[in-house]
């Protein structure tokens, strides 16, 4: 059995776990813990402390694993471990929380430094009233026009599929240009 992996990363509460849940054929193996910080607990009850793990079986011989990283900086010791051997990565950003954009940019740079593999940025929660416009986010996240910044709703399977496909197209394009 051959296996490949992709990493889903991003700031705290960006929607990484939900993203993986939307497409994983197994119940996501989640290492969530109750949140101890009062300010973070206002946003959600539990958070990922080591990783989320989802699976998509391609055929008899190939499996794609999806790894979700913990969002808080204090767990960043896991990031490099999770990034080892990844085919590409997705940076999830909560479009409705501009205070996390700088953190998202920093995470993107960190992961790109770990491994220069293709990546896409998913502007999640685009269905929320306060969501920022994609092009405004591109500007604030300092993404040049070559970086794919895609609209995303993590609980919508078709939206998640579109993100994964765009990442795979980028991987294929990179292989074909031989970069």
């Amino acid at each position: 059995m051959q296996t490949v992996k992709m990493v889903v990363t991003g700031p705290f509460n960006a929607g990484k776990t939900e993203f993986i849940r939307s497409v994983s054929e197994i119940d996501v193996v989640s290492t969530e813990r109750k949140i101890s910080s009062a300010s973070e607990r206002k946003m959600k009850e539990a958070t990922t402390v080591a990783m989320d793990f989802g699976r998509i079986t391609v055929d008899d011989d190939l499996v794609l694993y999806l790894f979700g990283t913990p969002g808080q900086r204090r767990f960043d010791f896991m990031w490099e471990i999770l990034s080892e051997g990844m085919l590409g990565f997705i940076v999830m950003v909560d479009s409705s929380r501009p205070e996390t954009f700088r953190e998202a940019r920093s995470i993107l740079e960190t992961f790109h430094a770990y491994a220069p593999t293709p990546y896409v940025v998913a502007a999640n929660k685009q269905d929320v009233k306060d969501a920022w416009d994609i092009e405004d986010m591109r500007h604030v996240l300092r993404l040049d026009s070559g970086v794919k910044l895609l609209s995303c709703v993590a609980h919508d399977r078709s939206s998640v599929k579109a993100i994964l496909l765009e990442l795979l197209y980028s991987i294929l394009a990179k292989m074909e240009t031989g970069e």
């Binding site: 051959q2 490949v4 990844m86 430094a113 599929k161 294929l172 292989m175």
Partner: protein, 272 residues
């Protein structure tokens, strides 16, 4: 129990707080990054500070503060090297050249500058020696530590934020590809210009800091400012071997098989 340990476990701010609350007398010796500092206290108040062999004499302090010009400084070094700072201070006061306040304010500024420099030291050993006193020939002050502790806490927060923004000094810097950006039209201070002059994807931030003789905090502050201004961006060190993934990305080394594998993934995701 002897007060000794590592700055990783006990910060300078915490040490000052302890010295202040316990009204300690003695010298705190800190072995930092390539330097050793000695800060003396009397009954919990700052009395004196010195880093390595840096000249903390009254003449040097007044020269640095532009209270003595270079000629006067040289003359004192040549003719009055044998007299103590206390005697020199009295001579300057009696000659009507400086007031007692001038002398104390400048010494206070010099000592607090040294203590504030210590706030940027996050690695190093320290010990508190109750028998150690400032050299006899130096002038001591009596400065409450509260303001320094507050300033230290503020710097610690700033330091933590800068570490989040610039997690590694092993990365390089490059100018952003903005056709409209023109460095000559931007007002940078001398320190910023020094850093800008070394920005090149072949230099790590750490190398720039070493060349410009800046500590981690100083270089991070400047790089952060330039990043915020959109003038530069962090990049991988040019010429460095790309980090080979320690785990294989593809289960096969054959390029065609790899493409086939990605196409199979695409087909599968489409069918979800």
């Amino acid at each position: 129990m002897a007060l000794r340990g590592n700055l990783r476990d006990f910060t300078i701010t915490q040490l000052l707080n302890l010295i202040n609350l316990a009204h300690k007398t003695g010298a705190l010796v800190v072995e930092g990054p390539g330097q050793v500092a000695m800060v003396a206290f009397r009954e919990g108040k700052l009395a004196y500070a010195q880093v390595d062999q840096e000249d903390s004499s009254l003449a040097a302090v007044l020269h640095k503060a532009n209270k003595l010009n270079s000629g006067q400084y040289r003359s004192i070094q040549q003719r009055a090297a044998h007299i103590s700072d206390k005697e020199l201070g009295l001579l300057l006061i009696n000659a009507g050249y400086l007031s007692q306040d001038d002398i104390l304010v400048n010494l206070q500024q010099h000592y607090t500058d040294i203590v504030q420099r210590l706030f940027t030291w996050v690695e190093g050993l320290f010990h508190f020696d109750i028998d150690s006193l400032p050299p006899d020939e130096r002038i001591c002050i009596r400065l409450d530590l509260e303001d320094l502790i507050i300033e230290g806490s503020r710097q610690m927060r700033e330091w933590e934020q800068l570490q989040d923004e610039i997690p590694s000094l092993d990365m390089a810097l490059k100018f952003t590809d903005r056709p409209g950006a023109n460095l000559r039209n931007i007002n940078l201070n001398v320190e910023e210009w020094r850093v800008v002059s070394y920005i090149n994807p072949r230099n790590t931030i750490k190398q720039i800091a070493a060349t410009t003789k800046m500590n981690d905090l100083e270089i991070r502050k400047i790089v952060f400012g330039l990043l915020q201004a959109g003038l530069i961006e962090i990049t991988r060190l040019e010429g460095a071997a790309p980090q080979a993934p320690s785990v294989r990305v593809f289960p096969t080394q054959d390029k065609e098989e790899q493409k086939s594998l990605v196409n199979r993934l695409i087909t599968r995701i489409r069918s979800l």
